[in-house]
Symmetry: C2
Subunit: 165 residues, 2 copies
């Protein structure tokens, strides 16, 4: 593959990651629904009620801003060597935020009878499906960033010894 | 630093990571306490009640086994180039499991009034502190693996252009 073709593929991949993390942040941040507990106490579920979901939004906003800035990095810049390090750190941020949000979403869906935490998704189904959509988008972003890190490592380190030394 | 000195430092670092993840897995897996809800319904809290804690134990066991096996890799082996990739993937596994367990531990400690989930740590304080200890050990393991990945990248890629090209 020619250099320019490769650069186009990487640019397209970074665009997909950017869109995925942007959607994840926006969908999670805009998720809210009015519900009621046992048909009595009414409340409004929103992402900021749950620290893990706030963390998820912050992480995805940070990665989106980074992903946007990287698009404008000239291809001959020496900074590309640093991009691998940033890709790596931000991939870990995504892994962390998705795992935390997923753990809470699981309790929201299934509850935890041992701790006496009841599932809440039957009361606020729209909120739950919006959260799930945000998690899926975040996961797509994570997979794309992981592939970018793998590609960088493959290109610079050749760990599987594909090329002859 | 001479080659052998460097190898000793890396071996010692890997030993610390191995011990940390082993402690994390053992402490979490052995955490249990008999408690009662409102002094009435009695139950036994254990790690396997919570999927996030089970995931934490599994992740730390996997990383411990890997960390043990890597100790026996001869220093001249070609496989060391693959170790960076494994280090990276297992660091992400640690990040993921710690984040998930931390999110649940936070609900256990503070509860989530919006979802109607009550904090449980005042009823089972010993279980909670043991879980916290496991999380701290897991975090130490994670930091050490992250440093190992950073060192490998620094050595092989020199992203900060410390060495002259």
């Amino acid at each position: 593959m020619a250099m320019s073709q490769r650069a186009t593929v990487i640019l397209a991949t970074r665009l997909i990651a950017l869109i995925a993390t942007l959607i994840a942040a926006v969908v999670m941040a805009s998720s809210h629904e009015k519900g009621s507990i046992f048909g009595a106490v009414s409340y409004e579920a929103k992402y900021s009620d749950t620290p893990a979901f706030k963390y998820f939004v912050i992480a995805n906003v940070v990665v989106t801003i980074y992903g946007f800035l990287v698009l404008f990095l000239p291809s001959e810049s020496q900074l590309w060597r640093l991009v691998l390090v940033f890709d790596l750190v931000l991939t870990m941020l995504l892994v962390s935020s998705i795992s935390a949000a997923l753990a809470i979403a699981q309790v929201g869906k299934k509850g935890n009878s041992h701790a006496g935490w009841l599932p809440v998704c039957n009361q606020i189904p729209k909120y739950c499906s919006q959260t799930t959509a945000a998690l899926v988008a975040g996961f797509v972003g994570l997979v794309v960033y992981f592939l970018l890190v793998c590609y960088s490592i493959h290109r610079d380190l050749d760990p599987f010894l594909v090329r002859k030394n």
